[in-house]
Symmetry: C2
Subunit: 218 residues, 2 copies
DNA sequence: CTTGATTTGTGAATACTTTCACAAGCCCAC
DNA sequence: GTGGGCTTGTGAAAGTATTCACAAATCAAG
């Protein structure tokens, strides 16, 4: 019952949930594993296996009830509560994230923002007032922040992550192009755009090498 | 020699490369697999295995020569050339990406930007003039764009991706929260911030469930 | 030249994930 | 109520990825 669930399985659960919400809005009440699979890029067996890690939610011969399964997945993913989030680094990317109102709709409330640059302190960005990083610890504690977003330059990221963890943040989302080891048991996810582009670059140049070797097919 | 290389291996190669550049700037000339591993969150065996997929670059008893290995990895990842990139959707995230000058430094030149909103057409954002999406096909062809970035709302993303593929783009980086199947053999990577946050939410609530079950330890 | 301290490169072993394939269950039609 | 068409849930099989562990290579010291 409590085997560790892989990151990729959790990621797929999020995708299933997204699709279930869409189906629900469209009034659909029942969905089969193969429909869900087709719409999320998975296979039907994978959908069933992923869901079976947590229980038995479908009806044989019929499929899954959209509403109840949606609620179950929200429960599993911890989305029945709102999480309190803070953001450190109100630069270009940080500001864009503050303005991304989808977060709130998805249960992630940004309740504080920090920057080290004096010119930015006190400024209000998309409804959030920017505080000085020196107040990070106290504000995080006061407002019960659970998730921290790091959107600073790479040099500052490790210290900021440490400070967040020390202040009691329980998980970190990192946008700085730096590998941040899990700090003190606090899980870190990194979103690294350059890394993604380099992954595509690899695919393209590998394809070109292959084409060249195979005599440049059509 | 030409077994398929996994995405995760390629991602690690990018991290090694990043670290090698840093070491090179610091004047370091030789690095061992275990040093590289410690700095990138991998294991030394993994570093050696990843590199051995492409050849034999180290010296037994000594380690890897920083400069030459950096060049080899740049070659493997296709980073010895500059890639031409376009961006579709000049909203909050799109603008932030246009301003992210690191792209150019890493060999990804943004040579065009598109939007469907008339108010944005012709405006110059961080040095790039916004063109109407109606001109996407012609501009992509004219300027030889190889990689397309999708930063539109989710509803528009699938059509935009199709249009990019049809116009001859060879790879797509997607920021819209929509699963985009690989279009017509064009590889797609998706960066989905909400998905990452939901992954963290899962970890947090799983940890809490565990704590509650184990009688709330310290 | 030999010894010893390193560190690579890599088969073999382990661990993890995905896919297969089918019995068990469900519902509709008659 | 019985038959037939579907679809789930899940062990077993296949496929991938990671880790282990060690022979082969390198170099410095004496």
């Amino acid at each position: 019952m409590s085997a560790r669930i892989s990151d990729s399985a959790v990621r797929r659960l999020s995708l299933y949930l997204r699709m279930l919400r869409e189906l629900g809005r469209g009034g659909v009440e029942l969905v089969s594993s193969s429909e869900l699979a087709a719409r999320t890029g998975a296979t039907s067996a994978q959908v069933r296996k992923d869901l079976s890690l947590f229980g038995s939610f479908g009806k044989r011969g019929r499929g899954y009830a959209v509403g109840p399964l949606r609620e179950t997945l929200e429960e599993i993913l911890g989305l029945t509560q709102a999480w309190r989030v803070c953001l450190v680094g109100v630069g270009k990317i940080g500001s864009a994230l503050l303005g991304y109102r989808d977060f709130e709709a998805r249960g992630f409330d940004i309740v504080a923002a920090f920057d080290s640059e004096p010119a930015k302190i006190g400024r209000e960005v998309f409804g959030i007032t920017v505080s000085p990083v020196s107040e990070l610890a106290s504000v995080v504690r006061e407002r019960g922040v659970e998730i921290g977003i790091v959107a600073t330059p790479p040099e500052a990221a490790p210290q900021v992550a440490d400070a967040l963890a020390a202040a009691g943040v329980e998980a970190i989302l990192n946008f700085a192009p730096t590998e941040l080891q899990d700090v003190d048991g606090v899980p870190v996810r990194t979103v690294d755009v350059v890394l993604e582009l380099e992954g595509l670059s690899y695919l393209l140049s590998a394809a070109r090498r292959r084409d060249a070797a195979d005599g440049e097919p059509a």
